[in-house]
Amino acid sequence: MLLENHNNAFISNIIMDSIRILILISKFEIKKSFKLNIEKIMLYDYYMKFPNTMIETNSLNIDIKYNFYEYYSFYHWKPVISDYMRILKYLLSKDLIKRNLDKDKKEYYYEITDKGQNFIDQLSSNYKKVLDKISEFVKNNISIKKDSEVEQEILYKTNVINRFKGEENGEKI
C-alpha cells in the first residue's frame, strides 16, 4: 500500500510529509522564549500524524476517522531524524521556510516564509483543513509543555494497553 511506504522517497511521500510539516511550522512565530527546532517539529508532527491517538478529536470537530494507520501507530515511534532533515531541506530549497541558527544552543530553528504562507493559502483539500486544525491545537495545547513531557505523553498514549482505551465515534474499540 502506498502509505505504508511513506519512509521511502516517493514524491507522494515527500509531498505529504513536507506540506504537513509546513502547515505545522506556519503556526509558530519566532519568539525569544520559543524557538521551533527539529526536535519539537518531530514531537509535534506525531500529533499531526496520529491525531486520534493523541488528541480527543471529537473536541476538535474534524472529520478524521480512526484507521489502521493509526491503529498501528505504536510501530512508528520513534521517528527517523534524517527523514525530517530531508523534508526540511526540501522546504528550504523551495524557499517555503527559512532557518536561523541559535548561536547559544548551536541549533537551527525554523519559521515559515511569505512564499510558504502563500503556498499554504493555495491548498483547499479536506486533509489540509484537518491538518490546519490539528496544528492549531498543537500550538495552543502541546507547545506550552516541556519537550520531555510531550515525549512522555506520546509514549503513554501509544502504549499498547492505553491504545485500546482510544475511542472512535464515542464507541470503545
Partner: protein, 634 residues
Amino acid sequence: MVKKFKLIKLSLIGTRKNYEVIFKDGLNYISGPTSTGKTSILEMINYALGSKGHKDYIEIRQSCTSVELELLIKGIKYKIQRKLFDFNESVSVFIWDNEKSIFQYLGKFEVDVPSNPRSLSAFLLEKMDLSNIKVANQEFSFRDLFRYSYLKQTEIDNENIMGEKHWYTSVKRKPTFEIIFNIYDDLLAELRTSLKIKNEELKEYEIKINGINEFLTNTDIIDLKTYSEKKEKIERDILEKQRQLHDIKVSGTTDDDITLSLQKRIVNLKNNIMRIEKDVNDQKQYIKRLMLLRNQYASEIDKIDFIIEGYHTFEKFDYVMCPNCLQPIDKTIDLNKCNLCGKEKTDVAIDEILELKHEKIKLTKKYKELIDFIKKEESNLESLVKRSSELKTDLYNSEKELLHLHKDYVNPFIEQIEQLNYDIGELNRVLRELENNHRMLVELDRIKNIYNSKEKDIRNLKDKIKNTENTATNKEDLINNLSKMFTSILEAFKFPKLENAYIDEKSYLPYVRGRLYRELGSLAGVTLITMSYYLAIAIEARWENFNHLGLLIIDSPRKNLGANSTEEIFKDEEIFNSIIRFFIEVDKNYGDDIQLIVVNNGYPKFLDKINIVKEFDGDGTKGIPYGFIDDIQA
C-alpha cells in the same frame, strides 16, 4: 367390729432402700439388744402421728429421708408421709382408693394445734369423730388421746403418769380420760357443735366440687376416663399428622412431565441465547473492523486528493536552493529546463500522480463497496439481535410458565404443610389445655375424696352422738370395772404383795396397797402398775362407743425387772414371763380390738414367733438383721 385405729405399716424411706415394719392385729413384739433401733421404730410412729420432733439417730440421718405410716382409722386406710429431720415441714396424707388400689393424695397438713383446721391433729381427731372439742379451755388434741396409747421407756417408771404430778402437764389428762370413757360432761354438747361445724365445712366442699364440676363440664371433660380417651386420640392425631408432614417433605417434589420438559426447554433456550449473544458480539466486532477499513479508504482518498493538490502547488514553486547543499541556485531563463540540473524537464512524477489518481478511483470504488458490505453485515447483526431478543422473550415466557407451573404444583404442598403444621400446633394446644384440665380433675378427685371422707365423718359423728346419748356411762360402774381390770392385770403380772388396788374415781390415778402408785417407793412396782394402768384403760375402753384408739405401745416392759433389778422381790424372771403371758392373753382375747406393740430386749421362749414382727441381734451373727437400719457398712 371396725377397728378404731390400727397401724399397718411403718416405712423409713431410705436412699438405698426402705426399712419396713409390718404390723398385725393383736400383739406385735419387737425384740433386740440396745441400740438396734427398736425404740426408734416407736419414735417414728409417734413422729408420723405428729410429735414435735425425733431424736437425731445417726443411722437414720445417714440412710433415710422420710417416714411413711400406713394406718386404718375406722376402717379407712390412710398413709401419712412426713419428712425426717425437717420438723416444720407439712405432713402429706393419702387415702386408699379401693377401686384403683392406690393411695390418692388427700392434702398437706401442718404439725400444729387442732384449732388449725389444716393441722394433722385436727385431721386425725376428725377421723376419730372427736373434732372441735374444748377441754379445760383448751383444744382437745390428738396428742392428748395418743398419750393413753404410748407408754414410753422413760415414762414407764417415772412416777408421773402422763405428767399427773404437775398441774400444767396434767390439765388435759383427766378430761381425756373422761372423753375416752364417754363420761365427759360436755362431750355431747361439744359433739353437736362439732356436727354443726362439720356440716358447714361439708357445704364449702360441696360448693367447691360444684364449681370445678361446672368448669369441667364446660370444657367437655366429665371424668378421668374421658380425659384419657381424648388425650390418647389427640396424641394419635399428632403422630399421624407428623407422619404426613414427614412424607410430604420426603416425597413431595414436582417431578411432573410438563415441568421437566419446560425446564429442558429453558436450558436449551439459555444455551441458544448464549450462542447468539456471542455471534452478535462477534458480528459487532467484525463490523467495527469493517468501519476501520472504511475509514482507512476514506482517509486515503483524502490524502490522495491532498497529495495531488500539493504536487501541483509544489510545481508552482521553483527551487531557490539546492535541496542537498542548500546553496542558492543560478536561475536559468529557460523554464523548460530543470533549474537544478539544467537539463530538459521531464515530469517523472506524472506517472506516480496518475497512479495516485487510479488508486483514488479504486479506493473510492472499494469504499462504496465496503459501505454496501457494511450495510449488509449491519442487517445481519440486526437479525442476530432480533433473534436474540426473540429467544430472550421465549425464555422469559418459559420461565414465567415454569414459575406458574411451580406455583400450581408446589402450592398445594405448601398449603398442606402449613395446614399440617397448624393442625399439629392446634392439637398440642388442645393437649396442653387437656393437661390443665387433668390437673383440675385430679384436684376435683382430691376434693371429692375429702368430701366423701367428711360426709362419712358426719355420719359417724351423728351415730356417735346417738350412741353417746343412748349409752350414758355410769361413772361409778366404769371406775369399778376399771379397778377390777387393773387388779386382775396386776395379779396376772404376779405383783408382789398385791392388795387394795384400784383406780381413784377423782384423780383417775392407780392405787396399790391403798397408796398412790408413786408412793410405793419401788421403781419395778411403778413399772408394773403403770403398764397395768395403761392396759386396763385400753381393755376397758375397747368398745366402739368409747374413744380409746385401741392401740397400746409399750416400750421396755422389763425395765427394773428380772436379773438386773435392784429390788430383790422383782428379780424373779417369772414376773417378766407373766407380763409376756398377759400380752399373749390380750392378743388372744382382745386382739380384734386392741393392737399391742411391745418393744423389749429379748423374749421368753414360749412367745409364739408369729407375734414377733421384728427381731434384731445387734451384730447380725444369728442370721437376723443387726438392727432396724441393717445395711450400713461397718
